[in-house]
Each structure stands twice: as structure tokens, then as C-alpha cells.
């Protein structure tokens, strides 16, 4: 069963055609790496896959997805554990913080987090809650080497568990056996 299927999808933004005739399917355990120059439509592709943006043409079959883009959607004034807990529940938030090596920061307000910490918090929020499909927009932005290791391990674990991930990135993120789309 496929978790995400693009059939002849086109994307038009501001009167400009970014891509058209895009076809791919992503099965359980699969991964897709999306590359392309700035403004090529990588983020738009992810928003179409998430159902937040309607394609200009074509059809998209999708399951409910977790999306991590440039905006973390965490309340700045709350301690990290509560800010994430609002989205995925307190119990699950603890486990998510552990996975992304954020447990020590559970009580720190989100506005005090560094870029990399904030990005890990963003990923922790998006990848919790048992969504089978992960849509990650530049997930390695701001991450140091150990954190990038966590990211790659989490994606691998998710795929081994029957999930799938779409990753739009400029930086190398190791995903063995991933399909590639170049826009």
C-alpha cells in the first residue's frame, strides 16, 4: 500500500509554473529525497503532499502526515515539554524529547532555544503521534553532527517500522535506498 502518490501533479505559484507532470509513489518503508535549486518548489511539493496546498493539476493520494517546515509552531513562552505536549499529549512528549536528546531542555521556554535545538524540537513535534508519513523540509538546517545522526537514525527507525519519509534538503541526509526527485 502506498502512503503517498503523486499523479501528474503540477504546482503554480504566483503565476509561475514551478513543476508539472510530477509522478511518484512512496510505499511503506520508503523514502524520497527532494532536491532542487532555491525556489524550485521543494517546500511547495511538501505542502501539496501535506494537503495544505492544492495542486494546479493532477491528483494526490495521501495519508495523514506529520510536517516539519521552517516554522516550528511551538508557543514561544511555554517550557519546551508543555509546548510540544500541547500537540501530542504530555506522555508522548516525554518520549519524543528523549528520542531527540532534548530531555534536559524540557523546562526551558521555547524562545530561549538555539536554532539547532529549536529545529530538533520542531522535528520531535512533527514526528511524534504515530503519523505514517513524515514530510521534512530542510530537516538538517542548524543541526550539528550528532543531531544529524539522530535525524538519520530516526528516519531509519521510522522506515523500519513501516513508515515513510519525504525529505527536501540541500544538505546530505543519509537515507539508504531512497528514491530521488530533482526539481
Amino acid at each position: 500500500m502506498s502512503l503517498l502518490a503523486f499523479r501528474g501533479v503540477a504546482c503554480r505559484r504566483g503565476g509561475r509554473m514551478l513543476f508539472e507532470g510530477l509522478e511518484f509513489t512512496l510505499a511503506r518503508g520508503g523514502a524520497l529525497s527532494v532536491t532542487g535549486a532555491n525556489g524550485a518548489g521543494k517546500s511547495s511539493l511538501l505542502r501539496i503532499a501535506a494537503g495544505l496546498l492544492a495542486p494546479a493539476a493532477g491528483t494526490v493520494e495521501r495519508v495523514a502526515a506529520g510536517l516539519a517546515d521552517a516554522r516550528a509552531a511551538l508557543d514561544e513562552e511555554l517550557p519546551l515539554a508543555r509546548a510540544i505536549g500541547q500537540w501530542i499529549g504530555r506522555a508522548e512528549a516525554g518520549a519524543a524529547l528523549d528520542r531527540w536528546a532534548l530531555a534536559a531542555l524540557a523546562g526551558v521556554p521555547v524562545r530561549l532555544l538555539s536554532t539547532g535545538q529549536r529545529q530538533r524540537a520542531n522535528l520531535a513535534r512533527a514526528t511524534a503521534g504515530g503519523r505514517a508519513l513524515w514530510l521534512l523540509d530542510e530537516p538538517a538546517n542548524g543541526l550539528d553532527a550528532p543531531s544529524r545522526g539522530i535525524l538519520e537514525a530516526e528516519i531509519a527507525r521510522h522506515r523500519a517500522g513501516g513508515g515513510a519519509a519525504v525529505v527536501a534538503t540541500h544538505q546530505p541526509v543519509a537515507m539508504p535506498g531512497a528514491a530521488a526527485v530533482a526539481l
Partner: protein
């Protein structure tokens, strides 16, 4: 996030940022200014009291409009709520509820003070509070719809005033009319206007948020 969770979150953010203290203080200040400007003529103050309270409430409701929807759109919160299965209309309805809970009870408490300044007697004060109870849900709904329509604009606050104040006129007319002692027909019209705004605002605000997303 559950509906209750979303309302509680909006309410907590409204109060913790101090965003709702300012409108209530502003409301009281306007109410205090009028007796000074008009002079100590109790009969005149009693006559204008209800209308002034309504005009002050309207202006106070306008103050927090800029942070009702715009920041959530910018921070990606609306996107994530949609991914979690919320419709934009549902988000807007939760925001109306939170906005009303955040500002109307405080405003009605402050009206007790304003009532004393205008020397309103018990019956007039009860009528005024009743009219506020009936009209403020419409005011909150209008605020959220305006916030969604103007989200992301430069100088959204000023534009919000231009959008919201004319649409609030029916509330002002019937609300202030009831404060002054209108008949049963006036109550029905006030409730009808308020209900129309409460029912229509989530649709308008939802459509505006959907447009802002794309």
C-alpha cells in the same frame, strides 16, 4: 489538539501576554474621560452612559485584533492544526469562544465601575450588562473575522479598525438602545445581530485563513 485545548491555549496566551489587560484598562479610561469632558451634570451623564460604555467596549474589542489570528498563521500553528484534522472554520469558532471568554467577563466587570461613574441606577446597570452579555459574542466574532481578514497586512491594526467599526454599527445601535431602555423588539434585534455575527464569522474567518495559507 482538542477543541477545549485550543480554547484554553488561546485564553492562556491572551492573558499571559498581558494582551487583555490593555483593552480593559483602555475601556475604563474612555469611560473615565467622558464624565470629565462632559462635566458633573448627572442627568446628562445618566443619559449618555449606556452609549459611551458601548462605544468604549467597541474600541476596546478592537485593540487585541492584531494578535488573534496573524501570529498563529505566521508561526505555522494554523497549518499544524489543519494537519491534525481541524477545519479552518472550526479553528475560527474556537478562537471566537476564546476571545469572548477572555475579554467579555472582564469588560462586564469593568462596566460596574463605569456604571458608577455615569451614576446609572440598578435597573439601568442590569439592562446595560444584559445588553453587553447579548452583544459581546457578536463583537468577539467580528473581531476574529476581522483579524483573519487583515492577517499579514502591513498596519493591520489600522485596517482592522476600518473593516470592523462599520460592521459593528448594528450591534452598537441595538446594544446602546437596550442600555437606554428599549422594548422587547430591541432585545430580539440585538440577539439576532449577535447571532448572525457568531454564525457568520467562522465561515468568513475560515475562508480568509484558507486563502492566507495558499
Amino acid at each position: 489538539m482538542t477543541g477545549r485545548g485550543l480554547v484554553e491555549r488561546d485564553l492562556r496566551r491572551a492573558w499571559s501576554s498581558g494582551g487583555l489587560v490593555a483593552p480593559v484598562v483602555f475601556f475604563l479610561l474612555v469611560a473615565i474621560l467622558f464624565p470629565f469632558a462632559i462635566g458633573p451634570d448627572t442627568a446628562l451623564l445618566r443619559r449618555v452612559g449606556g452609549g459611551v460604555v458601548w462605544a468604549a467596549a467597541l474600541l476596546a474589542a478592537l485593540l487585541p485584533v492584531e494578535r488573534l489570528v496573524g501570529p498563529d498563521l505566521e508561526a505555522g500553528v494554523v497549518d499544524q492544526l489543519v494537519l491534525a484534522g481541524w477545519s479552518e472554520g472550526g479553528i475560527a469558532a474556537a478562537k471566537v469562544a476564546a476571545h469572548w471568554l477572555g475579554f467579555a467577563p472582564a469588560l462586564m466587570a469593568a462596566t460596574l465601575v463605569a456604571g458608577a461613574l455615569f451614576d446609572l441606577d440598578g435597573a439601568a446597570l442590569v439592562r446595560l450588562e444584559g445588553a453587553l452579555l447579548a452583544g459581546t459574542p457578536g463583537l468577539a466574532a467580528l473581531g476574529v473575522a476581522t483579524a483573519a481578514l487583515t492577517a499579514g497586512l502591513r498596519g493591520a491594526g489600522a485596517v482592522a479598525g476600518l473593516v470592523m467599526l462599520p460592521l459593528a454599527l448594528p450591534l452598537l445601535i441595538f446594544g446602546a438602545g437596550q442600555g437606554g431602555g428599549g422594548g422587547a423588539g430591541g432585545w430580539k434585534l440585538l440577539l439576532a445581530v449577535s447571532l448572525l455575527l457568531v454564525a457568520g464569522a467562522p465561515v468568513v474567518a475560515g475562508a480568509a485563513m484558507r486563502t492566507a495559507r495558499e
